[in-house]
């Protein structure tokens, strides 16, 4: 009970901004350099093998996985407190796989659950995926249509952000994306189920700064994009708008409106000819 009460505002606030990860540590680093080849440039003589790409993806996502685990435990405990069975808890994580939406819905869970309202809330909270999928699809030219759909099913803040960072410095491959997503997904599902049993041991991940792991990952990734044209304009418009909206109406709207403002500002700043460097 205490767990469900105390961090109440906390998860909702910590989570949505928390879930993203980054690509491999090395790739993110590299993306801080010239960001040029945004488009696949064909095979290089040193084309990495699929296994190497997969492994890079897994390594990239490790810090995000470590940071997500305490939140997954907490989510499992919250679901149990709200009366969900372990099977239902696992099913929700497996089929939804979106931490912020799961926290918000479970925080206001009623029994019997109003499915229409729950669906609408989830749609609003996850609306940022619309931008994310439109953007990442531009880098999935080498994916088959089936692989593209499968990849989108597993799209979350973290693997998306790492995929973008990877694409900014080279080629995004199916293997790399699979490395980013596979274990991250399994870890999320398994850890929420485990949380249904042991989640009560975790008090408040915020006190240990775990939520800040996601913030730090995102800051690192944003900085990696710093040589893009319109970078400062985009960050200023997006962060300013999101903060303003958050102060007026805390909730997922701040992400959608902030992102829209950032994108719009970049388009205006670019001029009709675009921003090709």
């Amino acid at each position: 009970m205490e767990i469900a009460r105390r961090p109440r505002v906390t998860f909702v606030q910590a989570w949505p901004r928390s879930i993203a990860h980054m690509g491999a540590v090395q790739s993110t680093r590299a993306s801080a350099g010239p960001l040029m080849p945004d488009r696949p440039t064909g095979k290089s003589p040193h084309e990495p093998t699929a296994f190497a790409d997969f492994r890079d993806g897994v390594v990239a996502t490790l810090p995000a996985m470590a940071a997500a685990t305490p939140f997954a435990f907490l989510l499992g405990a919250l679901a149990t407190d709200k009366g969900l069975s372990t099977l239902e808890t696992g099913l929700m994580s497996a089929l939804v796989f979106a931490g912020s939406a799961q926290f918000i819905v479970l925080d206001t869970w009623q029994s019997p659950a109003p499915w229409l309202l729950v669906g609408l809330v989830t749609f609003v909270v996850n609306f940022r995926h619309v931008f994310m999928s439109a953007s990442v699809l531009r880098h999935m030219g080498s994916f088959s249509p089936g692989a593209r759909c499968a990849a989108l099913l597993f799209l979350a803040d973290e693997n998306w952000a790492f995929a973008e960072a990877r694409a900014a410095r080279g080629r995004l491959t199916v293997a790399y994306y699979a490395g980013l997503s596979g274990f991250f997904y399994l870890n999320w599902v398994v850890s929420t189920v485990a949380g249904a049993y042991v989640g009560r041991l975790i008090r408040d991940p915020r006190a240990w700064g775990f939520d800040f792991a996601f913030i730090a990952i995102f800051i690192g990734l944003i900085v990696g994009f710093r040589s893009r044209p319109g970078f400062v304009v985009t960050v200023t418009a997006s962060a300013g708008t999101a903060t303003l909206v958050h102060l007026i109406q805390p909730g997922p709207l701040s992400i959608a409106l902030g992102a829209a403002a950032g994108v719009l500002a970049a388009a205006i700043a670019a001029g009709p000819a675009g921003a090709r460097r």
Binding site: Q13, P16, R17, P63, A67, L84, S85, E88, M92, A101, V105, S111, P112, A113, W115, V118, T122, F123, R128, H129, F131, M132, S133, A134, S135, V136, L137, L152, L153, D157, A207, G209, F212, A213, I215, A216, I217, I219, G220, L221, G230, T234, V235, S238, A239, A242, T243, H246, S254, I255, L257, A259, A261, G262, V263, A266, A270, G271, G274, R276
Partner: protein, 100 residues
């Protein structure tokens, strides 16, 4: 397993999949130049900045200060160091805040 709970989980799942598939309606080759291209290029930064901004700018001074430290570290260091710096500074400053 209650039917209401299952229906709610199914609704959540479908709503989420709809947002994840939304990008598919953008035609391939769209936004290859001009302002539209600039808009798409800006998307990662715009979305990430919007996700973190309320926590960083409107939660409290420990979060803002920790983000600033993280930003400085991020300018030069690999991501793993950035994460360590972020978590450590947030935990330390939050612990410190009530004492001031």
């Amino acid at each position: 397993m209650s039917a209401d709970t299952l229906a709610a989980i199914a609704a959540m799942s479908l709503a989420t999949i709809a947002t994840r598939f939304a990008g598919l309606i953008v035609p391939a080759g769209f936004a290859r130049r001009g302002r539209l291209e600039a808009a798409f290029e800006a998307m990662p930064v715009a979305v990430l900045a919007a996700i973190i901004a309320p926590t960083v700018l409107a939660t409290g001074w420990p979060e803002t200060a920790a983000a600033l430290i993280t930003l400085i570290v991020a300018w030069r260091s690999p991501l793993i160091a950035v994460v360590v710096a972020g978590v450590a500074s947030a935990a330390a400053l939050r612990a410190l805040a009530p004492m001031l």
